[in-house]
Amino acid sequence: MKPAHPARRTVCAALGLACAAALPFVAAGRVLAAAPALQPGADPLDSSRWDDMRRAFFADAPVVFDDRIAVTAPFSAEDPLNVPVAIDATALGAVREVLVFADFNPIVKALRVEPLAAPAAFGLRLKLQQSSPVRAAARTADGTWHLGGAWVRTSGGGCTLPSLGSGSAEWQQRLNEVGARLWPGVGHGDRLRLRIVHPMDTGLAPGIPAFHIETLEIADGAGRVLVRAEAFEPVSENPVFSFDLPAGIGAAGPLRIRGRDNNGNLIDAEVRP
């Protein structure tokens, strides 16, 4: 299974947001469905960093590997600067927050999403420094973390390279510009796809400080916050996010996208249905 077929991604780049609806959240199963019966505590992805990850993110909280949280990512990412990942945790019911991280990235944590009034399904693109498990951990109301994930093979170097944008003046003119569109009837309701102009520098490339989007909020026309997200350095340059929102969410007026980067530059955009 190749959820993010190279050819398809080329088409996406050419058509921009118009192809957003065409990029599906393919049901997970490549790794987890094939996973053997587990020993308690054993990592189905068999990562030597798992113990570190558990300590860093979950401490003493209960953790389960759970195939109800689907992580879809390419088997092999030919562009380590833009690895598309889709997460669907809706099968778990109410989810408080979802963490996305990659065990072998120099900066492990990529995204934290709180689906406050939205289905727990979203997509992002991230940078991978080397082949790594890409995991999503969803915390349910009882405090339990449910883990899904997939190995992504890559040639690497994604996090320590200067952003492409840092070589051009474009980001300086268009910083935090948002392109977005709401796709009714896609995913678990309506799907919001958005792209923000931002270099998302990791701070690991020589001479370029960390510069990344920190917070993102999506609110409906009545001002109710639907999704709150916290982004970290590994999210791709000019990040593209998808968020599944309740069906008919655009009826109450334009959606509002607000956020901020770690330098305090504001993001503020409206999406008219």
């Binding site: 308690p40 505590g41 003493d60 400080p209 770690n262 330098n263």
Partner: protein, 599 residues
Amino acid sequence: MHTPLRSARRPRLLASFAATAFALAALNAQAKGVSDDDIVNDATITTQVVTHGLGTKGQRYSPLDQVNIETVKNLVPVWSFSFGGEKQRGQQSQPLIHDGKMYVTASYSRIFALDATTGQKLWKYEHRLPDGIMPCCDVINRGAALYDDLVIFGTLDAQLVALNKDTGKVVWRQKIEDYKAGYSFTAAPQIVKGMVITGNSGGEFGIVGRVDARDAKTGKLIWTRPTVEGHMGYTYDAEGKPVDNGISGTTNATWPGDLWKTGGAAPWQAAYYDPDVDLIYIGTGNPAPWNSWLRPGDNLYSSSTIAIDPDTGKIVWHYQSTPHDGWDFDGVNEFISFEYNDPATGKLVKAGGKADRNGFFFVNDRTDGKLLNAFPFVNRIDWAKGIDLKTGRPIYDEEKRPGNPFAEGVGEDKKGKVVFNAPSFLGGKNQMPMAFSPKTGYFYVPANEWGMDIWNEPISYKRGAAYLGAGFTIKPLHEDFIGAMRAVDPVSGKIVWEVKNNAPLWGGVMTTGGDLVFYGTPEGYLKAIDARNGKELWQFQTGSGVIAPPVTWEQDGEQYVAVVSGWGGAVPLWGGDVAKRVNMLEQGGSVWVFKLHKS
């Protein structure tokens, strides 16, 4: 498939929550905010340095005397911290100290929080700069301001960033102006009555100088005051909408045509504040362009000291030290509040002192700006024969103004007559702040002796491009020195003592109750001098040139001294023939901290 992990340990969760909550409460109690009282009393609270200038008056005097003329020989380094990276350019920051922590800015718009006793790094914020920034004089920064739980500093792309002082996370950020039009920011902000006061930089690009007051907690504008005559000042209502607050001066009174629209006069240094007379003092830069033939008139409020009422944002008085400047004599240097007894009447005078770029030391009444005294603090001044104490105006030598490039017979290259003038455009004193000791009554002035060849050329304004209309080259006046640390008596107008320095002095000065004067040299030394007689008592080699002002504070019964080291700034970029005296100096980027050795 659900595979619980460590479920047997769940009871520990509660215990660990409780422990965390307790630790957080302890942390909150520990992290003190900086109050208005802390700020206005900073000059006398010896356990902190929370303002630029060791007090908002900017005297740079500390009453501490544990380190003194007897004990200074035992001053040894405690720690040193490297700013790291490949960004070792000029370091001009004055550190701030509060609650056992040091806040110090570095080149390329970086700021660090360090443990003040160990030098351990607590956090760093590195501002992402666009490629198109246009600082005239190196990628420096002169320091931060502290207020409540915020540490606030300006960036080279003309932004103001407020960070939580305990976490280093951005709390608010405001744009001062558009860097693409030539604006930048390098000064330390100053806190006055809960407002953060800033100027701007970019006088070489035809920007419009301006002083802004913002709510320090939110960054919202309260008032803004242009420093070029003709521009409207504003206050801001609750929605942030500008409300007219009167034009600065009278349009076209001292500027011809449209020249005031790109008039420069950038107040690119820190503002100072005297709570006693409740006035903000800030100096303004050169008028733009440098070519003075294009702008007949005094060109207010360029090259001036201006006093602003913090409550109204209006100019209360101004004193222009170089009317119709033609030599790049910015009037930005600090106007330091001090008192003296008038020798004739014995009356206490509320004065202010300023060592100007133009080579004269000015003493003004700080309540109304009236000129009280003016005398040279450098050996040679060509452009003026003196300052008329009655009119307050310079007595120009018109032969020393660069020739008119538009005059008949100039020739096709339109290059006006070249003149030699002292001081040079880098000034008898530049950005490095002087100090005043209420104990000796002297100002300690880091002076430089140099001249320049200067000529004028035609120029027209182009947004974001250099706007000079002049050419120049600097020449030292003496073989054995350019820099001279001078003790200046503001009442008698006499230079009491001097310590010569081969390279130009570019760091600031601090003086203490221990009768010491501390300053750094481009050659890398931090020096301690006897404040009374100029005797050199102590020095330490910091490994790179010092172009930043030292500070001192007391912690756990011990007096600490700190200075930032890192060669750069305007001299190596603009230094002409001076380059020979400085081109062997190596770059760096570190902060050094000293205290007395206990045997």
